[in-house]
């Protein structure tokens, strides 16, 4: 799945070429393509006048970026303290047995990606699942798969 660099460049051009925009630009690319295509590291580096190694460092340091294609549906399971003691691991186990993928992995058909997030600030209704930016609170583990698929 090669993404042509003109498309990437168009996303990059939305923000001014200032080094402090690095993370925001990478997030726009991630938002657009669900991951950071390999080409984007060079394009962003040229656009901001930064070494490619610095852009790659940021792409691998910040956990919200992925360098490998992710699924259409991003399923996030919160593992904040409250969610942990209220059974976040149970949800992860159910998703693993139901979708066959562990956190950080994507299903072969590129439909689902499961990710673990360290606290999304909705602790009042732990345990929390987020499917494509839609919040689900007080998730019982036996409903995890239904929520993941329904979205």
């Amino acid at each position: 799945m090669i993404i042509d660099s003109k498309k990437i460049q168009r996303v990059i051009d939305r923000l001014p070429p200032d080094k402090k925009q690095l993370i925001m630009i990478l997030q726009d690319i991630q938002q657009e393509f669900h991951y950071l295509p390999k080409e984007s590291v060079r394009l962003v580096a040229d656009y901001l006048g930064m070494p490619q190694s610095a852009v790659y460092s940021a792409a691998t340091f910040y956990k919200s970026f992925s360098l490998i294609p992710r699924g259409e549906n991003i399923i996030k399971v919160c593992k904040g303290t409250a969610c942990h003691i209220k059974g976040a691991d149970l949800i992860i186990d159910q998703l693993d047995s139901g979708l066959g993928i562990k956190p950080g992995e994507t299903t072969k058909d590129l439909k689902y990606t499961v990710e673990v997030v360290n606290c999304v600030g909705a602790c009042a209704m732990a345990p929390v699942m987020i499917v494509n930016d839609k919040y689900f609170g007080e998730v019982r583990c036996n409903r995890a798969i239904k929520i993941a698929k329904k979205g």
């Binding site: 060079r42 070494p51 852009v55 790659y56 340091f61």
Partner: protein, 258 residues
């Protein structure tokens, strides 16, 4: 000038100097790993920690990395005590678990009576002690070809995508500055390979002896405005040429006097 006390002795230092420089000038041996004069201190290895206090802190003490702590008037510094010994010992103990085969680490650990790490050896360990000397020297060079990638325990020094770094010019500064010789390179025949990237070494136009990489020479020529032809022949042949040039001047001078 700033007056401070190191291990009981009052010493003077220049404003803005770092404690480590003053300590070294006193001939006191403080262990360091990530310190190198050609690069900015970052305080990664923590071994150069010393304990500081002041008269008006009424006994309260703080341990700081001397490579980064600027000298202050009236500072009272202790470079060796039990607490610092414990810190240095534990740090080397941890490093032994990560880099069990590194002679550099093992030698330093022996000074603290450690032959083996008290922690299980890390399966994914290697000799890199993550001191950032290589990435920083490459930054001073102006290329920043390699950098610390990933985060936390998976942190690894590499070029983008762990592949041949596009900005690397094969100058080997990183390999030479690496305290544990973890950065592998080799020159075979015409080519030099480092970070999975191969370079063409300039061959002396006279005797064929290999000098530096073409990319490194071009970089110096462009960045430091050096004449390109300086790089085309090796130092041996340049000395011979110099002798001949001066020799011919001597001969011409002698003929002129006759």
């Amino acid at each position: 000038m700033v007056k401070l006390q190191i291990n009981g002795k009052t010493v003077e230092a220049r404003e803005g100097e770092m404690l480590l420089a003053v300590i070294k000038r006193q001939g006191i041996e403080v262990p360091t790993q990530c310190h190198h004069e050609a690069i900015e201190p970052t305080g990664n290895c923590r071994l150069c920690m010393v304990e500081i206090t002041k008269k008006n802190w009424d006994g309260w003490k703080k341990s700081v990395t001397s490579c980064l702590y600027p000298v202050e008037e009236g500072l009272i510094v202790e470079t060796h005590n039990d607490k610092l010994f414990e810190i240095r010992k534990t740090i080397l103990d941890l490093q032994l678990a990560r880099s069990p085969h590194s002679d550099y680490v093992r030698k330093m650990a022996l000074d603290y009576g450690l032959e083996k790490s008290s922690y299980p050896v890390e399966p994914d360990g290697d000799d890199c002690i993550m001191c950032y000397a290589c990435t920083r020297i490459c930054e001073v060079l102006g290329k920043s070809a390699i950098s610390p990638t990933q985060r936390g325990h998976q942190k690894v020094i590499a070029g983008p995508f762990g592949e041949a770094p596009p900005d690397c010019i094969g100058c080997l500064s990183c390999a030479h500055i690496c305290p544990t010789d973890h950065i592998k390179w080799n020159d075979k025949g015409q080519t030099r390979t480092i970070w999975d990237k191969s370079f063409e070494l300039i061959a002396c136009s006279k005797c064929g002896k290999k000098t530096i990489t073409r990319e490194f020479a071009d970089y110096l020529i462009e960045k430091r405005e050096l004449p390109a032809n300086y790089f085309e022949i090796c130092d041996d042949c340049k000395r011979q040429e110099t002798a001949e040039k001066i020799g011919s001047l001597v001969v011409r001078a002698r003929e002129a006097t006759i």
